[in-house]
Symmetry: C2
Subunit: 541 residues, 2 copies
């Protein structure tokens, strides 16, 4: 072979940070404080403060490769840690503040966190697991309301003690670790995904490409998705690389606060999980004309599947474009985006919605396949269900500590645990998590398809379909439904509603009315809990 | 350090080719034939034909790493070579059909080309240097007008003999060579730049990013820039990765043919050198309303500097947006793009034009600096001139055969040979090629700035400013000017015109009226020729 003769220029986040200072020094990062006031920094200031953070870590004797944890809402200091920690050769570990203290203690210990940067408002949570984590050497408290207690360092004082001048970030290998993020699995212990500078950089390029998220300098980007969820889907790095304006919501994630800030700061690209957007859609529906969201070019929805009715509600009633995407922490996280292909312009609205409410097709350099239980690769016919496997330059090769080795195939693919169909156009449609799939008499039934259909019923706020044990069929679908305020429907009505779209053997054997669906810490339906509560009723009566 | 745990998934052009087949099989590639008829292929067909080409090279015993040259206009078969040659592990070498046969013989010998794919219409040119190139084993002729002669293979027959099924492209290292392209220097021998799969892939991601070229699936991309010029600026790969429609002009590069095809195929993004666009602007000015170019979102201009008057002419008179970019073969080739930053929205039209007619600021992961003759790094003040140096993951580290080692600094930068200023915003402005800079009494004078000012004079079609030898000042500027048909101006008038913008010592000592400016094979002013013809007249009278 002949080797190329191009520079071995490393793909590191350091370049992205330096680029922002060089080309976009006056562009803004806006953070909402706990008291709802706004704090504004320029990229020049963010750069200077990232340098100060790096120097402070030097002074504290924090070695290269060491994990520096954050327990923070989305704000500028979290961004400084996103930049200064990896650029100085350490590894940022974003702790999920929604987890139970026991889980947080396990995760911080497993990652061997030595430094923790913690929001003052989250200190009570932190103190619940601090004692569990023997590796912690320094706790740095962020938040400007008075002196910190003994045993804590004050983030602002730590930074103020350092010069902003003359610092040179160390040269890094692009395969060095940049960030570690734990998956919050519903089964087994959480597992750590270790992103490299290379994978994060490539993911950033992808996020900036016109057909993925298309982050650009003229954007005003609003990551409502927490920075402790899979790098806030890569938006912070994509925004800094583009020099776009960045808006952080702080701890205020209720629909009214989010929409008000979007209107005020003229957000162009906002991103969050479906729960957030469901609340926003309800608010917009309830207060027509109150909020001017005309600056918004796209609302990115991910984390779990967006109901088609929501996507269409935004489009038809509010002229707001939803971009539906799918990914996993193990994928940095973006895997697929549900935009239409150029030849689909002539489809009907319903056909378009079909594609736009699917998980989408693979981003460049992400490869997808789905397989049956024996590992056989399945056809892309839009019908055959199988577990989705992926590979690509921003997909995990293994977990930290070599946990969960069974998630990686011998031929180099990651097993997502999602059961999907793939259509001829290559759009992925998740029909289930593999552990939630319902197997009735040897046939697979998609709980997600049934849930989406139930949620299109006018009386239903939300619905979860899960497996009930059955003596003859092994499993049968059961539905847990939450009605909207002042609305209701009979089981027969719901059954008739579903019978329009599904084969008879797919229809749930029972509709259980509940006050709320149990959820995981990241807002996903906790079906293990539903099975525990209701799974045996077909047998026990 | 802690290593990341992400997949070592190689960045290869093979993925881009496979992606087009998987996700965009029905999207089109349109090629204009020599007889002006249009030939249409789908990406599925392009993929199948690239497989056939790969298999044909296997059958011909062409080893991995071997150079496979093309001597072709822009068309589908050239694209098949762009894809099938590197994906199968060979290296495509794009021969510049504008060069003199002696140069072509040198280049093809230097690259040790073993296979040449040549357009039938270019066989007479090829035969002028074939005998020079001892390494050539196979000549494959493309073009469908009758049988080929002895000693040639017919491209279509070679492909038709191969199956399209069951072929698996070899696994490649991302640092393997993918393409070799020679720079057409005005001094010294041409030098070979060896692009790797990695550099080409990263360049493709950059070209697709919203703030660079923003190539997207809904685009109709029209590379008028030849595919034998620095990979047609990366557009073929960016278009294939995005699944956009691709339009090739074949040999028809006159303004009328180009504009007619743009209108007919509803082009959204066209790319070419300023000479092409000057002709198009003149045509549009002369035939208002004749061509519907409303589909065009951007016209990319590079290769040499676009006159501000042209950029403004398109914008004001035809509502067409010019995107001005700068690069070099050694940069794959894109280095900078002259788009405005978000905070510049409020500037006056004149100020905006100032930025948009500069070379722009660096693309992500490209780094720029400019240095004086001692190598000292200069300030970004918009005034101080120095040689531009660049580095980045798609910048050459060395030339093939280690030619031109003096172009690479010890600390890892490539010396562009361009003399520039850098302003505080980071926009590069080329004031000269380093060999064309005029040094008068120790002061540098920018020939490019004087040329742009001369070309804004209503009587002048084009102008070149170059160094004349002078006994007292060492060098003084001389101007060669070409008047528009039926227009003229006196030297005093031209001097007064320039005196509005430049210090007295910058003003040329003489205005020499010529019929045309001598040019290099790539259309750039050949100032060595001007100096040879006129450089001594200040001394010899």
């Amino acid at each position: 072979m002949l080797a190329g003769r191009m520079m071995a220029f490393p793909l590191t986040l350091t370049h992205i940070l330096e680029r922002a200072r060089t080309y976009f020094p006056t562009h803004e990062v806006v953070s909402r404080r706990p008291d709802k006031s706004l704090l504004r920094h320029t990229y020049a200031q963010i750069h200077a403060r990232s340098v100060q953070l790096a120097r402070a870590l030097d002074r504290l004797g924090v070695a290269k490769g060491t994990r520096v944890a954050t327990l923070c809402w989305n704000h500028h200091a979290h961004l400084e840690a996103y930049l200064g920690v990896p650029a100085s050769g350490r590894v940022i570990h974003t702790l999920n503040l929604r987890l139970h203290p026991t889980e947080l203690g396990y995760i911080a210990s497993h990652a061997e966190d030595e430094v923790v940067i913690v929001d003052r408002s989250l200190l009570p949570l932190f103190e619940k697991f601090r004692a569990e984590v023997k590796s912690i050497r320094h706790v740095i408290v962020y938040g400007d309301d008075g002196p910190v207690g003994d045993g804590y360092l004050d983030y602002e004082k730590v930074l103020a003690a350092e010069s902003t001048e003359g610092y040179v970030f160390p040269e890094l290998d692009e395969n060095d670790a940049a960030m570690i993020c734990y998956t919050s699995g519903t089964t087994g212990n959480p597992k750590g995904v270790v992103f490299s500078h290379r994978s994060m950089t490539l993911h950033t390029f992808m996020a900036c490409s016109a057909d993925c998220l298309g982050v650009r300098g003229s954007d005003v980007v609003f990551p409502v998705v927490p920075m402790f969820h899979a790098a806030a889907w890569g938006l912070p790095y994509a925004t800094v690389m583009s020099g776009a304006k960045l808006i952080f919501p702080g701890p205020h994630l209720d629909a009214a606060s989010v929409v008000e800030l979007m209107a005020q700061e003229k957000v162009t690209l906002a991103a969050g999980v479906p729960t957030i957007w469901l609340g926003i859609l309800a608010l917009l529906d309830a207060s027509p004309g109150k909020f001017d969201l005309s600056s918004v070019r796209s609302m990115l929805i991910g984390g779990s599947a967006a109901p088609p009715a929501m996507i269409e509600g935004f489009r038809v009633r509010h002229r707001l474009e939803v971009m539906h995407a799918w990914g996993m922490t193990e994928m940095s996280p973006l895997g697929t985006v549900a935009h239409l292909k150029s030849h689909m312009a002539e489809l009907t609205d319903e056909q378009k919605l079909g594609y736009r409410s699917s998980q989408g097709f693979a981003a460049p350099f992400v490869e997808c396949r789905h397989v049956d239980e024996s590992g056989k690769i399945l056809p892309w016919d839009g019908v055959t269900m199988g577990e989705l496997e992926v590979r690509g330059p921003w997909v995990a090769q293994s977990y930290f500590g070599d946990d969960g080795a069974d998630r990686f195939t011998k031929d180099g693919w990651f097993k997502t645990g999602d059961v999907v169909t793939l259509c001829a156009e290559g759009y992925v449609r998740i029909t289930d998590r593999s552990k939630d799939v319902i197997k009735s008499g040897g046939e697979w039934i998609s709980s997600v398809a049934l849930e989406n259909a139930l949620m299109s019923h006018p009386a239903i706020l939300e619905a979860a379909v899960f497996a009930g044990r059955h003596e003859k069929w092994a499993e049968r679908p059961l539905a847990a439904v939450v009605f909207k305020t002042d609305k209701t429907a009979t089981s027969d009505e719901l059954r008739d509603h579903l019978a329009q779209s599904f084969a008879k053997f797919w229809l749930p054997d029972e509709y259980i009315v509940v006050q709320q669906i149990p959820r995981t810490s990241t807002g996903k339906f906790l079906k293990t809990k539903l099975r525990e509560l209701y799974g045996d009723r077909l047998i026990t009566g």
